[in-house]
Symmetry: C2
Subunit: 352 residues, 2 copies
């Protein structure tokens, strides 16, 4: 698989660990920091360790695993450690982990001393196909997802499917939702391929194709002015459901589980407002419900979900702005949806 060229940096697939340390050596960094969480510290760091010990010096910074820790408070902890370790402007941060580590680590690096270099080594399927391409960094404040962040490109991204074999099935399914989305918005053939594949461990080729699609969209519109909004399909409702679950459930939904619900709701809205045929709506709903467990969205939580949607970055002036599907493989941006339409879409999901 060829290296993919993104906005000023490369995404490496083959021999990526070797490539990572070639990059580190050539960069002449004053210090190297590896950010992990308690899972990747155990399962993924060992793959890097033989190379790390050959460096003059490096430091490990570990955060607690879990979406609920992608907060500004954890950023403060990491900034303080960088200060204590004497990190200067020529330091490098290697973010080794899932979306929490890559989003938070990217934000910390992009603001420490007004920006130091960082690279992403995504270790979950979700972070490989989503968080590590596109230059978005972000953390949560008050439970509002990614409300604080920057647009900053990493210096490189290193993909390695060796990390995926240790992932629980639920984590794989979380990443798969974004892959399904890439097919739905841009590539009907890819959607068909996914439908027919064994998705218990997606192949390296399927992952590669997903990164290609996301990268192409992002390159066309790095600051989310127009076409990049395609990637928001499923995310208006999905993000609200995800935040709601994080605040209310003992065992909250994963990102992908929430986006799966969002894609069904927004496919329903697509059928009402953007031309998606009823046949294709049925197909989307049936593929997704087959893969993901049913979640109960209680009727009395709908108002809270709507309030969360109003907080979404893409919404202006009290209106809810959705990306919808014209058909499988093609999207339509800037569809304004009313409160009632959004409730109806949630009712459609509840009735499946």
């Amino acid at each position: 698989m060829d290296t993919i060229q993104s906005d000023g940096y490369s995404i490496f697939f083959d021999d990526s660990i070797t490539e990572l340390f070639k990059f580190v050596e050539q960069g002449n960094y004053s210090k190297v920091f590896v950010l992990t969480d308690d899972n990747t510290g155990i399962h993924c760091l060992p793959l890097l360790q033989p190379h790390l010990v050959k460096l003059n010096s490096y430091d490990l910074i570990e955060i607690t695993a879990g979406e609920e820790n992608k907060t500004i408070d954890f950023c403060i902890g990491v900034w303080k450690m960088l200060i204590d370790f004497g990190a200067d402007r020529k330091a490098l941060m290697i973010n080794l982990g899932g979306g929490v580590v890559t989003d938070l680590g990217g934000f910390v690096a992009s603001t420490y001393k007004r920006g130091i270099d960082f690279v992403q080594v995504p270790t979950t399927l979700l972070s490989q196909v989503d968080a590590s391409v596109g230059g978005k960094t972000g953390v949560d404040v008050d439970g509002i997802k990614n409300i604080i962040g920057t647009f900053t490109q990493p210096k490189a991204v290193f993909m390695n499917d060796g990390f995926l074999s240790t992932l629980p099935q639920r984590q794989l399914l979380s990443g798969l939702a974004e892959m399904l989305k890439h097919g739905l918005i841009c590539d009907a053939d890819y959607w068909d391929e996914l439908k027919e594949s064994d998705l218990s461990l997606p192949s390296a080729e399927l992952i590669y194709r997903s990164v290609e699609i996301k990268n192409a969209v992002v390159l066309e519109d790095p600051h989310e002015k127009n076409i990049r909004k395609a990637l928001n399909f499923g995310h208006t409702v999905g993000h609200a459901v995800e935040t709601y679950s994080l605040l209310n459930d003992d065992d909250p939904l994963t990102h992908g589980e929430a986006i799966a619900i969002g894609m069904i709701c927004e496919a329903w809205l697509s059928n009402k407002k953007a031309g998606l045929s009823t046949n294709q709506l049925d197909e989307v709903a049936s593929v997704i419900t087959r893969l993901y467990p049913k979640y109960e969205v209680k009727a009395d939580s709908q108002a809270e979900l709507f309030k969360l949607m109003l907080n979404d970055k893409k919404n202006f002036d009290g209106q809810i702005n959705c990306t919808l599907l014209k058909r499988i493989g093609d999207f339509s941006i800037d569809n304004l949806c009313t409160e009632v339409e959004l409730y109806d879409s949630l009712n459609y999901y509840a009735g499946l």
Copy 2:
């Protein structure tokens, strides 16, 4: 005085309040937020109020005045208020205040939803001649100055010398230090002019010239790769003294008072290492000591000052990197100074 063109934005001098609200109207913003502190809320906001009430809607956010409050914790407070007020990506933030408000407000705006528009209305001499030109935003963590921040340009800057008449003399002197620096690094004629002027309230023309100098330097090197380091003259020692005073003194030094000390120390280093003549060293020391009160740097605090210098953003790999003067009106970047040389420069200041 003509409008100065900076990196993609304008710095208005004449009729700047009128220009500000012309800008607001043309921007078609979803909401306008005015960030003040408890001083500017009383002394400066009234100048904006007649125009503000004509807007459809605006909200005030007030932070507590004082350098010690330019912290990440106050940022969190402002982010939460923006969330509560429902600020979306098309909101505008007007930062009305001194460097604390413009630096912190710029950082908050540049990271809220990955960046909303902001404009600077600097109300102190220091923020007019320094903080509002150059696109640096920043806040402190653990007492380390500006350790977190971004390079983000405001959409415009509005200067108004009407704000300065309410400033205490000590605040005016704080800004004056940066003006003296602009002369020392780039313009010997301007230094001579300053020497001969009544500096109890610097004229609008002197302020304008200072902004011109800073703007020219910044435009040449927006990301501080080389020539912009000129602006760090006096700031290696000065920042350390400022932080030390903030942590240890009941009535801490102002920024300019600390930079005044830094400029004397670094003029001494310039004489040792960069070619500044002894005559010119004497001239710099005598002009500055005439304007600023003497501060006692205790011998046993020197080690702590050195540790603070090591934390400075410009220092790599344990070496202290100073911008020095070749002569009055010309600078030399990237001079590495040893611990002993820095102690000697502090001893020179102490012996004046």
